[in-house]
Amino acid sequence: MSHAAVAHHTSTGLDSRKIAFWTFIGSECLLFGSLIATYLVYEGRSVSGPTTHEILNIPLTSISTFDLLMSSLAMVLALAAVQRGDKVWGRVWLGMTALLGAIFLGFQAYEFQHFVHEGLGFTTNLFGSSFFTLTGFHGAHVFVGVIWLLTLLVRSLQGKLGPEKALNVEIAGLYWHFVDVVWIVIFTVVYLIQTTPLPTT
């Protein structure tokens, strides 16, 4: 079955999967928008600590942010390689994207267990609930992305990811870049712009 190779006639000339995926991303914007808005509304309203400046580690998270940004670069290179039919580099960059995503998740896992160790759990205060929910939702998206990329890598190793299947990689790429962009927003509003007033005591 060679679906996807010969695209059906469509009204826009675009593949339907691409249009559907863009609408999905639009929907996801509202999902993360609600999470981020809630985080911002609740910032500084915890009645007990620890909160942002006592616990967030900007240098460490800058590294993981850089890591995730680089994964988007790898994603672009992966798509380019698959599109030109370069099997080896396609696999290298798909694997690299997944690896950089996994490293990001490792940073997040370390950060989460460190926070819990410091006394900030999921239920400790309003900050804990909104922080872990927001970053956890994002982390879950990265996790799904890593699984997706690994699936594409396996398909490539099976010889089933030629240039005619480049759209599959392109759509995974759309997802990956979107998740990356969301992190840029989260990193900015959660880590860089902390509005919680410093404790007076």
Binding site: S16, I19, S27, N125, L126, S130, T133
Partner: protein, 618 residues
């Protein structure tokens, strides 16, 4: 594989497979539409039954037909069922059956995703309603543990502190599951309408029903993520003990109201826009005149969709948002009456000077206009915060939104039933019974809801299970109850009509002599919809000479037509999701809960992979 296309050498075209398995694995939008319709109609009857019990309880002061607890469950499930399990999926039945035919497509863009939406909806609805019988499983000592905090589930009524039982868990999980179905359908139909239109079917040649559905899908994919997050917070509060709606931790219960109504008001338009679309098809057909001001009707619908996103806080005037927010949301709410009024004038102008045929579909469409105007006028009344403060939480509000949702949306949907019935089943519903249905329902609905304006203004609050005999409310409530029973009889007449009409004479492709593309093909349409995909040259392809070619369509396909096979994986994926829901329901028992949820996740993941890699050519 359950379905296979006929060999490509024949010119007869593939025929629809038969048997139960072919329905379980079907990806045919027409069958999925019928399944949506049947399922949603059953839920509509259940929701109606709940309403009847509510009305019987309120028929006389001091009644004790149901307890206060059961009353809370009944009004909660009545609202939840009618919104999420009846009106939305009845609209979805029409989206499924009609949209691909109206735009000249062979199916939706993603037939398996479409089946998935249906199965998730069905299982989610059963999940929610299982709460009526699930009490013994939770050792609560009562049979029913149905949700009981209202369809809007205000925090902190729903907090573990005030609702410790499984009731709210059924609600919070059920709505998340149903949201998945709506979202998947939303992506599917947006893509279908953008991408699968027949040649020449430009956006401004699309039938108004397709247009209004298109707007509705955008509202669905933007509004549902917002309530999903609100529900996730609530679920985390209940399952893990987070602090989102916990006032003692600094949480704000108004966050829930904002997230809920940010979804909830677009939801109102999700419910009404498809009905407006149906009416915009029925009125021109039975007035023998093109829709007056097609472009304006379309733009008004789009404008309603856009402005519908900016009015949510009018549900919250009583919370004390402050004068600026009150003024802004009051103004935007009054503003939305403008495009709505434009549509009403267009519908009336369509009938003006037309050769009206009062078939049942037309009667319901006219009933829609009349009752929607009444509901719209009372809506403008509580757009004004000072008036709203008097009306909030009284039966005046109940009267308002039932005029819009029953007098409006449900009448519109019944118009759609009578209108498209011959297309779906190949024979028309009986006219006489249809008219009887209409008049009984028209009288019943108005008798139910018009007195509620008075009982509301006299101060009768919503959501109370009984009232005193000396409050001056007795007559109005008795009238409402009589009206509700009459409405029940009307729906019964419709059921009888469905049954008696099942062996009517063949309707032919275009029994109403209508103008749009779905009437160009057989009734019921063949599995591939059109023998050839027509090229469209006009807004009214069947009314204008040269409106489409070829005209008429050839009786048999001149070239082989590929029909996608069925798939069982959408159903399996839906079962995985529902199993995860059941796991989450048991959150008080960690190990079995986790085990069930993980089994569900495994089923879901396996199904997704099977789905992705099975051979399936659309």
């Amino acid at each position: 594989m359950a379905t296979t296309a006929m060999p490509h050498s024949t010119t007869a075209g593939p025929t629809a497979p038969t048997g139960l398995w072919s329905w379980i694995t079907t990806t045919d939008h027409k069958r999925i539409g019928v399944m949506y319709g049947v399922t949603a109609f059953v839920f509509f009857l259940i929701g109606g039954l709940e309403a009847l019990i509510i009305r019987l309880q309120l028929g006389a002061p001091g009644n004790s037909i149901v307890s206060a607890e059961h009353y809370n469950q009944l009004f909660t499930m009545h609202g939840t069922t009618m919104v999420f399990l009846a009106i939305m999926p009845l609209s979805a039945a029409f989206f499924n059956f009609v949209i691909p035919l109206q735009i000249g497509a062979r199916d939706v863009a993603f037939p398996r995703l479409n089946a998935f939406s249906y199965w998730v909806f069905l299982l989610g609805g059963l999940f929610m309603n299982a709460s009526f019988l699930a009490g013994p499983l939770f050792g609560t000592g009562t049979l029913s543990v149905a949700p009981d905090a209202g369809w809007f589930g205000y925090a902190n009524l729903t907090s573990p502190q005030f609702s410790p039982g499984p009731n709210i868990d059924f609600w919070v999980l059920g709505l998340q599951i149903l949201g998945i179905a709506s979202l998947a359908a939303g992506f599917n139909f947006i893509t279908t309408i953008i991408n699968l239109r027949a040649p020449g079917m430009r956006l401004m040649r699309m039938p108004v029903f397709t247009w209004m559905s298109f707007v509705t899908q955008f509202l669905i994919v933007t509004a549902f993520p917002v309530i999903t997050i609100g529900l996730v917070f609530l679920m985390f509060d209940r399952v893990f003990g987070t602090n989102f709606y916990r006032v003692s931790a600094g949480g704000d219960v108004l966050l829930w109201q904002h997230l809920f109504w940010l979804f909830g008001h677009p939801e109102v338009y999700i419910l009404i826009l498809p009905a407006m679309g149906i009416v915009s098809e029925v009125l021109p057909t039975f007035s023998r005149k093109p829709l007056f001001g097609y472009a304006v009707v379309v733009y008004s619908g789009v404008l309603i969709g856009v402005v519908g996103w900016g009015v949510w806080a009018h549900h919250m005037f009583a919370t004390g948002l402050g004068p600026i927010a009150d003024s802004v949301f009051s103004a935007s709410t009054m503003l939305i009456a403008v495009p709505t009024g434009v549509k009403i004038f267009n519908w009336i102008a369509t009938m003006w000077g037309g050769r009206l045929e009062f078939r049942p579909a037309m009667l319901f469409a006219i009933g829609f206009i009349a009752q929607f105007i009444i509901g719209g006028l009372s809506g403008v009344m509580h757009a004004s915060p000072p008036a709203d403060l008097q009306q909030t939480d009284t039966y005046f509000v109940v009267a308002h939104f039932h005029y819009v949702l029953v007098g409006g949306a449900v009448f519109g949907l019944f118009a759609g039933f009578y209108y498209w019935w011959p297309k779906v089943f190949g024979h028309t519903l009986r006219d006489g019974l249809g008219k009887l249905h209409f008049w009984l329902m028209f009288v019943g609905v108005n008798l139910t809801f018009f007195p509620m304006h008075f009982s509301g203004l006299l101060g009768m609050p919503r959501r109370i299970y009984t009232y005193g005999a000396d409050l001056g409310l007795n007559t109005f409530n008795l009238l409402s109850t009589a009206g509700a029973l009459l409405t029940g009889v009307a729906v019964l007449v419709f059921v009888i009509n469905m049954f008696l009409s099942r062996r009517g004479p063949p309707a032919g492709p275009n029994p109403w002599n209508a103008a749009t593309l779905e009437w160009a093909t057989d009734s019921p349409p063949p599995v591939y919809n059109f023998t050839v995909i027509p090229t469209v040259h006009d807004l009214l392809p069947l009314w204008r000479k040269g409106g489409m070619e070829p005209s008429p369509l050839p009786a048999t396909p001149p070239a082989p037509i590929h029909v996608p096979p069925g798939s069982v994986w959408p159903l399996c994926a839906a079962i995985g999701i529902i199993t995860m829901g059941v796991g989450a329901l048991m959150h008080h028992h960690l190990v079995p809960s986790l085990a069930t949820a993980l089994v569900g996740l495994a089923v879901l993941v396996v199904s997704i992979y099977q789905w992705a890699f099975e051979p399936f050519e659309v």
